[in-house]
Amino acid sequence: MTDAALDPIDRITRIPGDFPAPRAWWICFGVSLALLLLFLVSVGVLLVFGVGVWGNNIPVNWGLAIVNYVWFLGIGHAGTLISALLLLTGTTRRNALNRFAEAMTLFSVICAGLFPVLHLGRPWLFYWMAPYPNTMTVWPQFKSPLAWDFFAVLIYLIGSILFWYLGAIPDFAAMRDRSRSRFAQVAFGLAALGWRGEARHWARWRQAYRLVAALAVPLVFGVTASYALLFAAGPVPGWASGIFPAYFFCGAIFSGFAVVAIIAVTLRHALGLGALVTRSHLNLIGQLLLATGFMTGYGYAADAFTALWSGDAREIATLHDRWTGAYAWSYWGAVALNFLPLQLLWFRRVRVSPVPLALIGLSVTIGMWLERYMLLVTGLYRDWLVSSWGIYHASFWEWALFAGMIGVFLAPFLLFVRFLPVMSVFELREARHEKREAGHG
């Protein structure tokens, strides 16, 4: 038992019962509850008065909500990719990262999904986008990228829930067995679905888990493509570009890895998981960040090149607006925050130091938000007809909803950190065991 007390993996299962940083957690949770309250107020105001409480107008009739939608979804994708891709390729280093990355995915997909619904003129009718048999005998309009986006995000949400939950079943069982309170035993017991650790269970579980993972990876591409087509399928100069799906995919995982970096460093510090989230993990995150950063940078360059190479006056004008127009701050802000601090990641010393890595992650997170903002607003504020050009400023209630949505993300995430194993205990064990076996062998 003394040996076990020192076992870093065991510590994870003990976190829910004996949280190492209760004070910090309460402070964070208090803040996120306040933000959650702000979310409820903003949604209330929105539903009572209408979407006019935002700053949207004609021509910029999409605003912060769609920016945030794309941004949150992008963040979510990294969790899926880290987890599923590394699972399928059999990389054991994923085990320290996958659980919280999946939780991050789950909560950011929920946040992302709320935005376009709230952004509707009549949000209570959002389900009309679903192809269900109805008395109106009207189907969704299948040519619309929005219909496909709705399907994609819905499937992605279901997939993310399944993937996260399936992966946690053996750990729920472990928690059930270790819980002392009756309530926790019953709760974890229900969540564990009667898991007894039989070989049969393991075999079926592995099959199901890999199947969902195999579905999740292409789904990421599908979802990024669907919301990229939201822009690219229309005739709007600056949007109608074939590179958008790839460009959005790179940007999505780039921003996602940035958030993973922040969360990993924070959890590692707060929960004392230095032995599990090792320097080698940080190094991996840093490398991924650098690589996806360059893919995103390529997207910027390709987008600009395509516009210039097209010779289309409107595409060039939009590019010019992005560089020098009213929203140039968002373009150059995105370029600066995304790519300048990133260059430090060439150095291994930076990649393995938690604080610089987290700061670079933060910089990229903000930078990618600016990029989303830039792409959306510069496409609309000056499109085809000069007479209809207009300026967009997000209103207080848009910012309030954004801040509130961060509460929607943080509150459940903090509950997850507090009450559930933040890492996959059995997989860590399995990996350690295999490593030892290999060592003995």
């Binding site: 209408g50 999409w62 309009q141 040519k143 929005l146 085809w384 007809l385």
Partner: protein, 947 residues
């Protein structure tokens, strides 16, 4: 293109002896003679019931739904009545469409000899004035509610006193009055009380032009221009195509001339010298930017050049060249030339312009001269003098608002206070009403009997489209009561006016007048006065800064300030809504470091005015232009607190062009709610130009995966940019037809105006003297519509007749359609914009058009309800829809007939012919949307003549 003539109805007329009434209302024909009110009550159908229950405050009404539908009434079927609305005293002939007794749309009267179906913004918006919830409903004493009995007691006392004193001390002040009935009553009043005096104050009326005519012809005559016959027009600051009571008529004539010129008949040349940009200047082949003080010199120079003396000295090179070119053009078209100067120009310049026109043989052709269609009273200055002398003891203000429409420094304001008894009769509790001991509500012309003349003198009998909504009295009824007549009914008074001249044929002619909307042959005969010698033309002292105060294109002198439709109509040139601007030249802005939206303070003597700066391309360097009519202090919820009052800045003599002492920034910034912030085309060809007879280069074929479908009928529209003068009549007509809500200044400033049809304005060239183009933009109804592809729920779909439909109750508000729309013609209900409308506004709505809910997208439908009506009519008669049978609201309203609509699948229709002309082009063809709305390019002046 005139609207197909709807079957016209007489107003619900009490006289059962009428054969026609018997045909129309067989149930009534059998009734014994009855009171008009009883008939109206019986007729409930058209007049008082169901829909109006919400807005009828009449004490004797019981609202109830139809149990037995009155005979002849088909619920949901419109009825049309010919009537007239008033603008500055003159009739605007119209045909009102009513549903179940509620007027919902006004159209021009195509048979009227002067207007010929044209309309303007004021005619279109008169409907909202009728339903204005802020209208005065009860008499007021000392600005507190009183009742009619008390008011009538006061009138009786007044009558006794006037009888005793022969009318001494009584003054009647009104705007311009052309109504034969009111003039007959005025005459009766003068006969009974010979010492009573009548005064006329029409703030932006014809008085300056009559004074100029007096200098030109020796008598104060009325003058009208006839642009249909004017092949060469030289305007010295006269905005012939600009807003005002004459716009519809001049614009139609101008468009006819231009059409003839394009077809090769004669010329259509326009030379304009102006200080501030106008719609007229926008079409001038040579536009000279001239400070207002240059007009006398220019007029002299033009006269000299016409005399063959060459350009006179004192003119700059550019001015002399302009004058020479204008003179040469005039000389080349004898009898077809018109020289004209604006009402703000010095009287001698206006007079010289008339004399030059007369010498060029333009009298009776390009310039029509008549006796004034109605006699005016004495001037306001005379009233001021009399009141100051204490000679006026009772002042009756009839439908005028002099305490707002006189200069702030006018001594009238002080003199007014000295009158012991002041009575105001008006539709609104306005600035004058609150300063009077008594105020009593007048009816709107559309709900009362009366008559009026249009500018050529043609009389229109005004018949009510609806029973009085707010309990007011018609002006004729007021005067009849003042005179103590036994029959005080306005209809009786109007009939009495015409009974004598028409004699035995009275009933026939009365019926004819009501059904046609005018009395044929009542135009005032034209005169051929001999022009006097040109007046002396002293130079005006040049000022560093000159202020030009012009009527506001939407609210005029302030009388329409409570009309939300007009307030929200973007001004033709600056596209600013909800308030006027202080327009300055780009050069002055640069010199003083002024940016659009800076609050400016103008100073002239001790008079001041503040307002937002607007940089107006094409404005003369030292000219500062403001608009009158805003800054109302009372007068309704809409009117109050909008913009600044420019009357306050005018000098006591009311001059509208004068030297300004100073212009300075206050440091504050003011929101200017403009609907178009960018004025240049940025290298695009949204507005295309071509030479006369030269077709545009053909559009390159664009890729399509499928053969384009050819629906039949396939609805399409053609808009002639060579005819559009940017007057906004189409826009207001669209608002009225399609129940488009008014959103207010803040939402317009945020880019959330709801107009389905807008008129874009572009400038090209140097800011100091740019070219100006207008382009109405409705929905393009693209054959390959990006909006339809974007909508996830099938809320915007294509129909079998080529229409791009918007299904409001399927729309969930993703706004993808708007994001994808290259033309940005879609409008979104950001809030519930209609739910809290007062009952009056609900009663006004067109029942054929859905009122949109919060959160849905809307846009131009090509007036699909009118297409449906035509389709139903055609199906009933088992025939195809005829060309010209569907007339959209914008098309019907357009005074220049710039809009053509119809079936594109039939090559013989007007719209197909327009699209087949070499001037046809699509807007933004590179978007490959294949729009059904296309444009006809504007035609450049003939090159050989513009040299």
């Amino acid at each position: 293109m005139s609207a197909p003539r709807p079957p016209l109805w007489r107003a619900l007329d009490a006289d059962p002896s009428e054969a026609r009434a018997a045909r129309e209302f067989p149930a009534l024909a059998a009734l014994p003679p009855v009171e008009r009110r009883d008939v109206l009550r019986l007729m409930g159908a058209s007049l008082a019931l169901a829909g109006l229950s919400g807005c009828d405050w009449g004490p004797d009404e019981t609202a109830m739904p139809y149990v037995t539908v009155p005979e002849g009434e088909v619920v949901g079927e419109p009825r049309f009545y010919a009537s007239a609305a008033l603008m500055a005293g003159y009739a605007m002939p119209l045909i009102g469409r009513t549903y179940s007794g509620r007027p919902v749309k006004l159209e021009g009267n195509p048979d009227h000899p002067e207007w010929r179906g044209a309309t303007d913004v004021f005619l279109q918006a008169a409907l909202l004035d009728l339903y204005d919830p802020d209208r005065s409903r009860t008499p007021r004493r000392q600005d507190r509610p009183a009742d009619w009995a008390a008011f009538d007691t006061m009138l009786a006392d007044l009558r006794r006193r006037l009888d005793a004193e022969g009318g001494a001390g009584f003054a009647l002040l009104s705007g311009e009055v052309t109504s034969p009935t009111l003039l007959r009553q005025f005459a009766a009043l003068a006969a009974r009380w010979p010492r009573a005096r009548r005064f006329t104050h029409e703030p932006l009326g014809d008085a300056p032009r009559r004074e100029a005519a007096a200098r030109a012809f020796g008598r104060p005559l009325a003058t009208r221009v006839d642009l249909a016959r004017a092949e060469v027009v030289v305007s010295l600051g006269h905005d012939l195509l600009g807003p005002g009571p004459e716009q519809a008529v001049t614009a139609r004539g101008w468009a006819e001339r231009r059409r003839a010129w394009r077809a090769g008949a004669g010329a259509a040349r326009l030379f304009a010298a102006e200080a501030a940009p106008t719609q007229t200047g926008a079409f001038a082949e040579r536009r000279l930017v001239a400070e207002p003080d240059r007009l006398p010199a220019l007029a002299r120079g033009l006269a000299a050049a016409l005399n063959g003396a060459g350009a006179e000295d004192g003119l700059s090179e550019a001015e002399a060249a302009w004058a020479r070119a204008a003179a040469a053009a005039l000389a080349a078209r004898p009898g077809r030339g018109l020289v004209t100067a604006g009402p703000e120009a010095p009287a001698e310049v206006q007079a010289l312009a008339m004399i030059l026109t007369a010498r060029l043989g333009g009298l009776g052709a390009t310039l029509r001269v008549t006796e004034p269609v109605a006699p005016s009273g004495e001037s306001l200055a005379a009233l001021t003098e009399a009141a100051e002398a204490g000679e006026i003891t009772t002042l009756l203000v009839l439908d005028a608002n002099p305490l707002f429409t006189t200069p702030g420094a006018d001594p009238f304001r002080a003199a007014f206070e000295r009158v012991p008894l002041r009575i105001h009769l008006g539709t609104h509790r306005d600035e004058t009403a609150v300063e009077c001991q008594w105020h009593a509500p007048l009816t709107h012309p559309l709900e009362s009997w009366g008559d009026a003349r249009s500018r050529d003198g043609t009389v229109s009998i005004i018949q009510p489209l609806v029973r009085p909504l707010g309990g007011g009295r018609a002006p004729a009824e007021m005067l009849a009561r003042l005179l103590g007549e036994t029959e005080t009914d306005a209809r009786a008074a109007t009939r009495a006016t015409w009974r004598e001249p028409w004699g035995a044929a009275f009933e026939t002619r009365w019926t004819e007048a009501l059904t046609r909307g005018f009395v044929a042959g009542t135009a005032v005969p034209e005169l051929r006065p001999v022009p006097l010698d040109p007046p002396l033309m002293p130079d005006r002292p040049a000022a560093a800064l000159t202020l030009v105060a012009r009527p506001h294109p939407s609210v005029w002198d302030g009388r329409f300030a409570n009309n939300g439709w007009l307030q929200e109509t973007p001004a033709p040139l600056d596209k600013v809504t909800w308030g006027g601007v202080i327009a300055i030249s780009p050069a002055l802005a640069e010199e003083k470091g002024i940016a659009t939206g800076d609050e400016l303070r103008l100073t002239a003597g001790d008079r001041r005015m503040t307002g937002p700066a607007w940089i107006a391309p094409g404005q003369a360097r030292g000219t500062v232009a403001v608009t009158l009519g805003h800054g109302r202090r009372v007068g309704g919820q809409v009117a109050a607190e909008v913009g600044a009052d420019a009357f306050a800045l005018l000098p006591p003599d009311g001059a509208r062009v004068f030297a300004l002492d100073g212009i300075e920034k206050t440091g504050a910034r003011v929101t200017v709610a403009t609907t178009q912030a960018h004025q240049a085309m940025e290298g695009h060809d949204f507005v295309r130009l071509t030479d006369r007879g030269a077709p545009l280069p053909p559009e390159p074929a664009r890729a399509s995966f499928y053969d384009p479908p050819k629906p039949s009928p396939g609805w399409g529209m053609s808009i002639d940019l060579d005819a559009c003068i940017g007057c906004n009549a189409c826009l207001v007509a669209c608002v009225a037809e399609n129940n488009i809500p008014v959103v207010g200044k803040d939402l317009v400033a945020q880019g959330r105006e709801m107009h389905w049809l807008r008129v874009d304005r572009y400038h090209a060239g140097e800011p100091a003297d740019p070219a100006t183009y207008f382009q109405p933009v409705p929905c393009m109804h693209c054959a390959q519509a990006p909006c339809e592809m974007g909508c996830p729920v099938n809320a915007t779909v294509h129909d079998a007749e080529g229409l791009n439909l918007q299904v409001y109750n399927r729309c969930i508000g993703t706004r993808t359609c708007s994001s994808f729309c290259p033309y940005k013609v879609r409008r979104f209900n950001w809030f519930d914009l209609t739910g809290d409308d007062p009952p009056e506004i609900r009663a006004m709505r067109n029942p054929e058009v859905t009122v949109r809910a919060r959160g849905v997208m809307e846009k131009c439908t090509y007036c699909v309800q009118r297409i449906s009506a035509a389709r139903i009519a055609a199906k009933k008669e088992d025939r195809p829809i005829r060309d010209g049978e569907v007339v959209t609201a914008c098309q019907a309203a357009c005074p220049t007939e710039a809009i053509t609509f119809g079936d594109m699948s039939d090559p013989e229709t007007a719209v197909s012919r327009a699209k087949a002309s070499g001037r046809d082009y699509p807007l933004i063809p590179e978007a490959n949307t294949r729009p059904s709305t296309t444009y006809l390019a504007r035609v450049r002046p003939d090159p050989e003549e513009s040299a």
